[in-house]
């Protein structure tokens, strides 16, 4: 392995990072818990490129010829499907994990560009309902804050089976973030570590889930679209079962998806990359003749319009952003570097979102820190970011000759690596070869 000091030969297996972690574990006696998503290299959308128009394809004129971006979600059963102006939504993040100011900022930013935001483990706050024109209400295993009045106030319902950062794992909110308001919403004492369940309390499999969905539809008079969110693992089969269970929308969260607090070993070693999950989900929907009838939302490592466009080209109807939305609000801002260093981190590295000491005022319940985030300014920053992603997506779509971003297709893509070609199911660039296919 490359060494920083000539003459010293660092072990690949027991390199300095590994040695640091072993010694930390020996000292502290507990696994490392952190926020954000997988940090190691994984095959991703960067490993794909668009082919663009040339002799055999006709591009659209940038800024002159229209390239639509609207999306309708929940057309299968819901009386009132959600209509988004852009194919980018804000993923579920809880009040508790995030400050009330951050939740309000997310709502403001999403609403400004005509898209939805999502509650999280802990229920719906008045701030986020008021600031969000379109709000998706999560039904999680813990059912913290679960309330039929909020269910009726929601624009859609998302049943969470898992998230990409930890498929098969429950939630975690450490005691330092459990102030009186968070504790009250969750019906638990303040300041204790909250371990959210990993299994739903009142159903145990896809047949039960179908009945559960029917109950939620009955309670809300069949008005709301019902999403099922799965953490990417056995995505093909999970998507088949989600459709069978009656989902209007399937949300697939790849292993690059973020979390507020999870064991590092879980984040880095459980689940499959988003790239592979999208293809599996689309295959399942296509096989059932439900592609575009049951909509697909993809999340997990979406950063740019290029990522959005690639996910859509692979067959997604929309994407969700979580980590990127927090960064847009100001998470890991270089201006806060000195304060991050006081916490033993640095701007660009900070991931102790579980600790509640976030100098950006985002992943905290400390009133003084939370006051640092101006929800209006934060909302403006998020809106700017989402508009940028949308324009980037349109630039690529027009270059591929598409008058709607949903017209992007796998045929527009090529892979730069054999791994990406196999996972995404698109040819290796310059060839017609898709590994695993004739």
């Amino acid at each position: 392995m490359t060494t920083r000091d000539p003459g010293l030969h660092e072990s690949y297996l027991f390199n300095r990072d590994v040695i640091h972690e072993i010694q930390r574990a020996a000292t502290e006696g507990i696994y490392d818990i952190r926020g954000s998503g997988a940090k190691r290299y994984l095959p991703h959308f960067d490993d794909l490129v668009f082919l663009g128009a040339s002799m055999s394809r006709y591009p659209l004129e940038g800024y002159r010829e229209r390239c639509d971006t609207h999306v309708v979600l929940g057309t299968r059963y819901a009386k009132k499907p959600i209509e988004l102006k852009i194919p980018i939504t804000v993923a579920g993040m809880s009040f508790g994990a995030l400050s009330a100011q951050a939740k309000e900022a997310l709502g403001r930013g999403a609403s400004a560009v005509g898209t939805s935001t999502t509650t999280g483990d802990g229920g719906m706050t008045s701030e986020e309902r008021l600031s969000s024109k379109l709000l998706v209400y999560q039904v999680l295993p813990s059912r913290y804050g679960m309330n039929p009045d909020d269910l009726r106030l929601a624009d859609a319902i998302e049943i969470v089976l898992g998230q990409g950062a930890k498929p098969g794992g429950g939630g975690m909110l450490l005691g330092q973030k459990i102030n009186a308001r968070v504790a009250g919403m969750r019906d638990l004492p303040p300041n204790i570590d909250q371990r959210s369940a990993c299994r739903h309390p009142d159903w145990t499999g896809p047949d039960d889930l179908e009945i559960k969905i029917r109950e939620l539809r009955e309670i809300t008079d069949w008005e709301k679209p019902i999403y099922i969110k799965i953490g990417a693992s056995r995505t093909y089969y999970d998507t088949l079962l989600a459709v069978k269970a009656g989902a209007d929308v399937v949300v697939v969260d790849g292993m690059q998806g973020g979390t507020a607090a999870t064991q590092n070993v879980f984040i880095e070693h459980v689940g499959i990359p988003t790239l592979a999950a999208v293809r599996q989900a689309v295959e399942a929907l296509t096989e059932l003749d439900m592609h575009r009838k049951v909509q697909l939302i993809v999340s997990g490592g979406i950063r740019s319009g290029a990522d959005v466009a690639k996910a859509l080209a692979m067959g997604a109807d929309a994407v969700s952003v979580g980590v990127a939305a927090l960064i847009a609000l100001g998470d890991n801002a270089p201006a806060l570097d000195a304060e991050y260093r006081q916490l033993g981190s640095a701007a660009g590295y900070y991931d102790d979102w579980q600790a509640g000491r976030d100098p950006a005022g985002i992943t905290t319940q400390d009133d003084e820190l939370a006051q640092r985030l101006d929800p209006i300014m934060g909302g403006r920053r998020l809106a700017n970011y989402l508009r940028t992603l949308t324009m980037e997506t349109q630039i690529i779509a027009r270059a591929c000759g598409k008058s709607h971003v949903h017209n992007l297709e796998p045929e527009d893509l090529a892979a730069l690596t054999v791994e990406a070609a196999a996972m995404a199911g698109v040819p290796l660039a310059g060839t017609s070869w898709i590994p695993g296919r004739r």
Binding site: L188, P201, D202, I219
Partner: protein, 230 residues
Amino acid sequence: MSTEQIFDLGQCTVRELNQALHDFNGHRAGPHFRVRNAQGDHALAVGIAAPLSVDIEGHVGYYCAGMNQHATVTIHGNAGTGLAENIMSGVVRVKGNASQAAAATGRGGLVVIEGDAAARCGISMKGVDIVVQGSVGHMSGFMAQRGRLVVCGNAGAALGDSLYEAEIYVRGTVADLGADCIEKELTAAQIVALNTLLEQAGVSAKAADFKRFGSARQLYHFNIDHADAY
């Protein structure tokens, strides 16, 4: 307005029944509802948000009276999985037995099961009072947060596993206790409160005959020395 509305599920749909009930959501009163031929249908009388009185004749399927607010729902039969799940207020009474996860995540109100309740009764309960005249199955009170689970018969294995601040009372035997659940003193004030609850539930039992179980609170903060308890 008729004082009683009758819905025969052999003649109408669950949707029609629930819509008729929801039409009174937010009202201060409404007619008495009688539901005939329940036939094990799922999601009956869910999402009510009014002080209605509903009698259901026959056995019901999953999630009957789910998320109930203010209503009094009586089931003259047995109930399937998730009876009165996430109940907020009101009273749900089952004349027979209840399947698993009865009153799961309930946040208020009262659930009375005159027969037995299967596994995971009161799982993740968050403030509801549950009175079971018979026995409860394994893992009852799992991760129970607030409220009271009263078992007049016996409790199955792993009672109150990973318990938070809910109180569990058992008159009969307990197969074994789950992680972090311990027997606690039954105080005079708790006896008074429990007698009141039993009276509300229409159960003739004496609070002093019950044992009380609660959280040892050893799992509230992770401690590596307790790792074998997780």
